[in-house]
Amino acid sequence: MSWLKIENLRKTYELENMKVNALSGVNLEINQGEFIVVVGRNGSGKTTLLNILAGLEEQSLGKVFFQDNECTIENPLSVGMVFQEARLMPWLSVERNLLFPFLPDKNFSKLHQKTLDLVKMLKLEGYENAMPSQLSSGMAQRVALGRALSYNPEIVLLDEPLGALDYFTRRTLQLELIRIYLKGEKTFLMVTHDVEEALRLATRVIVLKNGSIDSSIQINMEYPRVRNCPEFQDLIDKVLLALDDSEA
């Protein structure tokens, strides 16, 4: 039995005069507590994979099982998702954005305690009542991450969450992600096209190529990982090799 199992997942987009195979048979098993990072070129199907897991799109073929139960529209996988853009609700304060998953609940106003922990974990102290327009992009992305965590999902999906940030903010948030991951409470499935970022964060790197999995590379290095050691360099070469046939 596996925790989360993705079986022969296919997605075909029908355009006017052609078919695009965004995913052509993805098979993947994820264990609880893993930090999986999927790398792939633009158009390799990364976003499509996450969108199907999040229930935003429907697969053309294939199945997803969570603890041996098939995930369907009626019985969806419980996910929290962070997109490349923060996608905060501009009319809600930071606190309300953090609790956005619970906004329709009747006892929403009693959830205040929950934000205190999140605000602390994401270093957003003092910004509880700020509006999204007042936040830097890095800060906004922290709130988006907090929103996904507050939902307490089975798995956190991240679609190039740091892709739009500047180098320094990205480095800081990578460390934050590691810190949150090391609390050991959550399983992460992240997508990026930054190989170095993948290797800094992942316990396992999945290389996605033309809509299917090319290779799966276990990373056993300690956190925080430094780039200038032979092991890290070897892994970079290995992933780059898998990504790019022409250099093989």
Binding site: A54, G55, L56, P76, S78, V79, G80, M81, F83, E85, R87, M89, W91, L92, R96, F100, P101, L103, P104, Y151
Partner: protein, 254 residues
């Protein structure tokens, strides 16, 4: 002293104060005939004498009740129709050409028909306000809902929001700025339409008061009526939107 000066400048009172000052100066120096443009003191005394004999209150109440009924009714109709059209595009396709036809008819042009059908009672005025305010509310609401960002609805979907909750907690709050613009325009138009109607056919209301004063050659009362309409309009706008924004904040919409 300095703080009073600053607060006058900041609150935008500088322009009105200057206008009143020039008006006062010009009247006292006889730059113009004060029968054509009465002085501030004449206008103020007209205000107080109408206040004292209760005429002003009577006309204000008559106009205000028409605004509340007409604009209230119009807002309810326009908002519900816009919500329905946003959910059922087929409905919009059916009624769009008809609405487009009515949109171009100046409400004032139907006054003769309304008088013919309803006399000079309350209904023609209320109908006129509805005609004048329906479109700004309807079109702005519809446009606000249509412009909703699907990326934000996706977020709600991920967190298991039902279709209704996606609408209630994402699409509608996103549309609120346009809806407020529509309501604000509509409220302004309703005063124009009302006073026009009261000028043509009425026995009460601020428009009637102005017309009556014209017949008596009381230009001070005409001027006073104009001021009352402007001030009352701004006041109602302020009260209505402060209250609306407060309740929207409570409902997580603003």
């Amino acid at each position: 002293m300095k703080s009073i000066k600053n607060s006058i400048i900041c609150s935008g009172l500088l322009v009105p104060i200057m206008i009143i000052f020039i008006w006062w100066l010009g009247s006292n120096a006889f730059w113009w005939n004060t029968f054509l443009l009465p002085s501030p003191t004449q206008t103020a005394s007209a205000f107080f004498s109408y206040l004292q004999n209760g005429e002003l209150q009577k006309h204000v109440c008559a106009s205000l009740s028409r605004i509340i009924k007409g604009f209230g009714l119009s807002a309810v109709i326009a908002l519900s129709l816009a919500l329905l059209c946003s959910q059922f595009p087929a409905l919009l396709t059916q009624i769009e050409p008809t609405l487009e036809f009515f949109r171009h008819i100046p409400p004032m042009s139907v006054i003769p028909l309304l008088i013919l059908w309803f006399g000079i009672g309350e209904s023609p005025k209320i109908i006129l306000i509805i005609l004048a305010t329906f479109f700004p509310v309807f079109l702005n609401t519809l446009q606000g809902i249509k412009a909703s960002d699907s990326k934000l609805t996706e977020v709600a979907k991920v967190f298991g929001y039902s279709h209704w909750n996606q609408f209630r907690f994402v699409v509608l709050p996103e549309a609120i700025p346009s809806i407020l613009t529509g309501l604000r325009l509509g409220l302004g138009y309703s005063w124009r339409a009302l006073v026009a109607a009261e000028l043509v056919a009425a026995a009460s209301g601020l428009g009637y008061m102005i017309l009556d004063a014209e017949k008596l050659s009381r230009s001070d009362v005409v001027l006073m009526g104009i001021f009352v309409i402007g001030a009352l309009g701004a006041f109602i706008d302020y009260i209505f939107f402060s209250f609306l924004k407060l309740s929207l904040k409570k409902g997580y919409m603003l």
